[in-house]
């Protein structure tokens, strides 16, 4: 039993990082734009399909392919912002953006069905099914690589936010949009680029998701969104590090409870969210704390 618990903790830490990779773009977009991008699930799947297309048709390695899919997703993100989010104005902007993002999800799903069909596909590479034995545990390479990628991306986003002029513009917009405009920040440009960056990092999440799931099809995004939202709420809306911490915490707890009851494991995932929010309504790394960093 002890061994099973250790294995579950290791699985949870590695699996949590995969979820953080998928959620980090969502929390970044919310932090800057006050928009809950409920199309994030389908965008993860779009990222997975882009990796799939490069891998199957051009035989490009999945990680190398990120050099293409990340910029491609950035362009998609900016286009979504200009077409669907920017036109929304006024006090109803946040609630209207939910509908706009839902429309994006439906359109993206339809396009994916048209291009790839309904059959399940999965990403294939030697390191997806291979694993390394450490202290008697088999650790799948794809999860190890995914973990490293998650930590690297979170560090990169931190560097972008706290070590660059553009990052200062983003944080200024996060803190007070009107004040940011007054000091000459082009808020529309910052918002478009942030949306683009948020969607771009989802390319990495999509690739690792595609490699670790049992298969995906255009509909797979809907199963993801509730979990991703739970993770970013627990981590603190807008907190990038919070998304990583919450992802690891929730998936680890779920894996451990799963040893006794797989059905209760899912419940625990959301019960923890409710419990933490009761004590810390702003999540683990709440919004105010995140913006003050």
């Amino acid at each position: 039993m002890t061994r099973q618990v250790y294995q579950a903790v290791v699985d949870g830490i590695l699996g949590g990082a995969v979820y953080a990779l998928m959620a980090v773009g969502l929390t970044l977009i919310f932090g800057v734009l006050d928009i809950i991008n409920i199309a994030q699930g389908i965008l993860v799947v779009v990222g997975a399909y882009l990796s799939y297309a490069l891998s199957v048709h051009l035989h490009v390695d999945l990680f190398l392919g990120l050099l293409v899919t990340v910029p491609a997703m950035f362009v998609i993100g900016v286009a979504i912002y200009w077409a669907f989010i920017r036109p929304l104005r006024g006090r109803e902007r946040t609630s209207m953006s939910l509908l706009a993002c839902y429309a994006v999800a439906i359109i993206a799903e339809g396009v994916l069905y048209r291009v790839f069909g309904p059959s399940y596909v999965s990403l294939q590479a030697s390191y997806i099914t291979a694993s390394v034995r450490v202290f008697g545990f088999y650790l799948p390479y794809i999860y190890l690589y995914g973990f490293v990628l998650a930590v690297a991306l979170v560090a990169l986003l931190y560097a972008l936010l706290y070590r660059t002029k553009f990052g200062r513009s983003i944080r200024a917009t996060m803190q007070n949009e009107t004040a940011a405009r007054l000091i000459g920040i082009n808020v529309n440009r910052v918002a478009a680029l942030t949306f683009g960056i948020g969607v771009a990092v989802t390319a990495a999440g999509g690739m690792v998701y595609g490699a670790t799931s049992g298969g995906f099809n255009p509909n797979s995004g809907y199963d993801l969104i509730s979990r991703l939202l739970a993770i970013i709420i627990l981590g603190g809306l807008g907190s990038i590090g919070g998304a990583l911490a919450a992802g690891v915490l929730m998936i680890t707890l779920e894996s451990v409870v799963d040893i006794w009851s797989p059905n209760w494991a899912i419940l625990v995932f959301y019960a923890v969210l409710v419990l933490v929010l009761t004590v810390r309504p702003a999540g683990l790394f709440g919004r105010q704390a995140a913006r003050a960093q």
Binding site: A8, Y113, P118, Y120, T129, G214, G215, N219, I259, S261
Partner: protein
Amino acid sequence: MRPQRARFLALGTAAILAAGLAAGCSSSSNSSGGSKSPIVIGASLSLTGDFSTDGQAFQKGYNLWVSEVNRHGGILGRQVKLDVLNDNSSPTQVVTNYQKLITVNHVDLTFGPFSTLLTAPASATAHRYGYAFVEGAGGGGLVFAQKLNNVFDVSLPVANELDPFTAWIKSLPASQRPTTAAYPAADDPFASPQVQLTQSNMQAMGIKTAYSKIFPEEESAYKAPADDVAATGAQMVVLGSADVPTVSAFMSAFEQQHYNPKIFIAAAGPDQGASFTSAVGTANAAGMLVPDAWYGGSPNPLSQTMVKAYVAKYGGTASGINADVAEAYSVGEVVDQAVTHNKSLSNSALISYLHSGVTLQSVQGPVRFNALGENLVATAFIFQWQNAKFVQVLPVGATGSVKIIYPKPNWAG
């Protein structure tokens, strides 16, 4: 001024009502009246949502049957037309869809949706309006527990699907029989009952249960139970799966944990042809077992004709055809034979005829219904992926069965 406005309103309302009535009458007469008008068959299918792979395969099966039947002159001299609505894999939407098909679209006949989960509420709706409900993918106990007289499942009842597998294990010499088994099952009315039945049969043979748990049918919930099963080292895994991702996630986790059971059988997933191999890789599919009533290489002449028509219409190979296609096609065949015999589209006559004990023919084999609408004469087979081909292996000695690969080959990597 006011009385005049009120008169206009009254006149307008009357005109709209009259137009509506006229439209209603004409739509009704179009669908069931004139001898030249097509026979309209309504079906709700999961073209999107969790069951979209199966739903779209079902649509192919229905469409293929329609094009074949129309190519041969239709039914009762009338062409057949499908009216398909998308239920997004939702048990509530499927009810709305059949209500619309019956009360608004006035379809002549209805065909079933995909899955036990959707067939149960859908058949109850059709029953309310007196429609016969012939279906091909609602073989779970949930459907028959309703005891409706309008339900007819042309496929194999789910409860008996693993019977040939159990019989084969029983036939093995004690030294070759697995000694331990794991029974992970998705929380699904199709998947879990047959696994639980198999577990009790195996325990009666003295095979020790190393793992037996039901997990939520959610993609994120598969890895942890798969790792737990691998940790037990059970020699046999009977997986209660309803789709490809479940099986694929378990296979992937097993390989990562360097665990290869001697026998790995899944309730569903490996029967989905190219959809399965594209997710798990053709080499890794080797040795995977699945129960079903049909496969692309079936010697049944009706099946061979359908396979030829399928490949001509959609391309691919016989092994790549999803078994859902045959289930859907069988629905059309059974209804065709019943309507042709009755020389009428009357749903009550259709229900009476299908309950009369008559044996009909389909690409899946013979069909004869009991009082609950289960197909009494469907034969269960077990299939296995061997050298990139989907072949029938059990019952041993049955027509079309080839030698089973046992133990299962190691993962291809």
